[in-house]
């Protein structure tokens, strides 16, 4: 296990951190299992965690903003939905679907197929995107988003085009969601802490220097892109089997911006994705529950409608105060201060005693405030 994490400065600590991060998800699942309303909230939360982790695998490791990951969410959603739909329903919902497409699969198999299909799709698209420089790549991801929308609408024998795709079996239980979210987090964190992750971070921080030691930015970015697409697809599958019906306008810029908001606010690591999801879910739910309404002119405004505005202000505040997000480049375990084994003390060597050879005085046991870990692993 430790050898996978060879990109991390302290694999033991990282393993602990991964356990801690997953622990947060599990704890929330346990808390939520009390009531069905909390359960629903947890479902939404974990879907967003998976999507955010997926996006973070790309954005956190390459530093490039992607507006197109919604395309992978859609791909994961539709593919898995087509596969889990029982054969009998298939005839009604998708009468023109080709016969060789299996039906009635269980959630796990369908999701795995969805991940693979999406990853292949991402690989092809990524060949172009990984070659573009930062600003152009972001624009290309927007192009991906638009083009995917068009494709979904046009492939109506498989997606029902503009019409609602219904009849998806409910498979996203609390347990399933917790498992998928935990897996996504583990996958993301292992990637970040691996040798591959380290190489990506090197390219992110200084592309030219990384190239000078033999790293290949294009290939590395392609790998990050493909992996992040796979994880995002899993989020899409979880989403599809929760909302039970799909239509193209669910995969709009608004959904993309929500996940982007999460990733920006939280920070540039998987822990950041988790924290960001916590913050955004908390804010959204809080505003939703506010009962007050506000009379403006001849319309009444309730708090929930102001949610995008509040989140937008949050983003601006984060950008001004902590541009790298709340956690920046730190993971959860980096918030726990390190304990120093050998306290530093100032040592004076009296000239008379040493006789020309400096002998340091033995370190005294002083209580020394622990200093927090440096930002980032790299």
């Amino acid at each position: 296990m430790k050898s996978i994490l060879s990109g991390s400065m302290n694999p033991e600590r990282t393993t602990l951190g991964i356990a801690l991060t997953v622990g947060v998800v599990v704890a929330l699942a346990l808390i939520a299992s009390g009531s069905s309303r909390h359960g629903q909230l947890f479902l939404l939360f974990s879907i967003n965690v998976v999507l955010a982790a997926g996006l973070q695998i790309f954005m956190g490791l390459t530093g490039i903003v992607s507006l197109g990951h919604v395309a992978f969410m859609a791909s994961g959603a539709y593919v898995s939905a087509i596969l889990t739909m029982p054969g009998s329903l298939r005839a009604t919902v998708l009468p023109d679907a080709p016969g060789w497409v299996p039906s009635g699969l269980d959630f796990a198999s369908a999701t795995i197929v969805a991940i693979v299909v999406t990853a292949l799709f991402a690989l092809v698209v990524g060949l172009a995107i990984s070659r573009l420089k930062e600003g152009a790549a972001t624009i290309a991801t927007y192009a991906l988003f638009v083009i995917t929308g068009v494709v979904i609408i046009n492939l109506s024998s498989l997606t029902r085009g503009n019409q609602t795709f219904y009849g998806i079996p409910m498979k996203s239980t609390l347990t399933t969601a917790a498992i998928v979210a935990s897996l996504a987090i583990i996958a993301g964190r292992v990637l970040f802490a691996s040798r591959l992750g380290m190489m990506l971070r090197a390219v992110r921080d200084d592309e030219l220097a990384a190239q000078s030691v033999g790293l290949r930015p294009h290939s590395l970015r392609l790998v990050a892109w493909t992996l992040s697409a796979g994880v995002t697809a899993a989020g899409g599958a979880l989403y599809a089997h929760f909302v039970l019906s799909l239509s193209p306008n669910q995969f709009s810029l608004v959904s993309a911006l929500t996940i982007l908001t999460i990733v920006i606010i939280g920070g540039q690591t998987i822990s950041g994705a988790l924290l960001g999801t916590l913050i955004v879910t908390a804010v959204t739910e809080f505003l939703r529950r506010q009962a007050w309404t506000w009379e403006v002119g001849n319309t009444s405004v309730d708090a929930a409608q102001l949610t995008p505005l509040v989140l937008g202000v949050f983003i601006l505040a984060v950008l001004v105060l902590t541009p790298n997000g709340v956690l920046g480049r730190r993971e959860l375990e980096d918030l726990i201060p390190l304990r120093r084994r050998t306290p530093l003390t100032r040592q004076t060597i009296p000239a008379s005693e040493s006789g020309g050879i400096a002998t340091p005085a033995p370190p005294a046991q002083t209580s020394h405030p622990p200093s927090p870990n440096r930002e980032g692993h790299a």
Binding site: I139, A140, A143, G312
Partner: protein, 290 residues
């Protein structure tokens, strides 16, 4: 010939928007996602002014003023505090700004589209050498041409304009030369506001409606145009605009009707292809290595 007229008119509107985007980008590497809101707010100003029975010239002027005001506020409240930040941060900030503005409009003015009635003669069509030309197209092309000429004159002949060009080319050295950078950037934003305001007046004639997301489509088109031409280049923005208009009209002409839904995808595909070939756009400056 008909298509030529359509192309000129469409390209003109795209050019106005793309120029505004390119101006703001060149002054601080700011990709301003909120540029569309300049058009939206200008549109709402038109609706409000018409509601007060103001005459069209006054309405147009107020629309432009509204856009200028919003542009300056954008600078003062968002982009100035973030100056010097990496382009990614500025991009995200502009996205956040766009969301905030759209939400404010949706909540406080309403999501329902508001009508804007243009004078009837604007849509009247003249038959000119076998082509149907609406007055609005003529106005669009002439207005854009005048704006471009004025812009060029401003950038070349006035001290402030030269300062804007200098700051766009090399911000640091410009400041070292003693130019008041903050004021120059503010002027650039105001300029972008002017262009957006004018574009809004011309653009809304085709739909006659304004709603919180009105500015989104022009934003996307303006972006594609500016990126095609090279984000830092003003000439490139205009070139990209007419190129984009040309592509769209060519698609309309040559593509069989049942494939029409793919037209957006085709445009974006062409954009990606151009970016792969020339990452800095057609007229963009090649990035220095260090």
């Amino acid at each position: 010939m008909q298509d030529f007229v359509n192309w000129l008119a469409l390209g003109s509107i795209y050019a106005l928007v793309a120029l505004g985007i390119a101006l703001i980008y060149s002054i601080g590497r700011i990709v301003n996602f909120a540029h569309g809101e300049l058009l939206t707010v200008a549109g709402y100003t038109i609706w409000w002014a018409l509601g007060r029975e103001l005459s069209w010239p006054v309405t147009g002027a107020m629309a432009v003023l509204g856009a200028i005001l919003l542009a300056c506020l954008m600078y003062a409240l968002v982009f100035r505090p973030l100056r010097g930040a990496p382009p990614v941060t500025l991009l995200i900030a502009s996205i956040a700004l766009s969301i905030i503005l759209q939400t404010l409009l949706t909540v406080f003015v309403g999501a329902q589209p508001k009508p804007i009635t243009y004078p009837g003669w604007v849509r009247e069509v003249m038959i000119f050498a076998g082509t149907r030309v609406a007055w609005i197209d003529v106005i669009t092309v002439i207005t854009t041409g005048v704006c471009l000429l004025l812009l060029i004159a401003f950038l070349r002949r006035t001290v402030l304009g030269v300062a804007v060009r200098a700051a766009a080319e090399d911000y640091v050295v410009t400041r070292l030369m003693g130019v008041r950078a903050g004021r120059t950037v503010l002027v650039t934003f105001a300029l972008a506001g002017v262009l957006a305001g004018v574009a809004s007046v011309l653009y809304l004639a085709s739909t006659g409606l304004v709603h919180p997301q009105t500015g989104f489509t022009p934003l996307v088109k303006g972006f594609i145009a500016a990126v095609l031409g090279g984000l830092g280049s003003l000439g490139g923005a205009v070139l990209g605009a007419f190129l984009l208009a040309g592509i769209e009209i060519a698609i309309l002409i040559f593509l069989p009707p049942d494939l029409r839904t793919w037209s957006t995808a085709i445009v974006f595909g062409i954009l990606v292809a151009v970016l792969l070939w020339r990452p800095s756009g057609l007229l963009g400056r090649r990035e220095r290595l260090a």
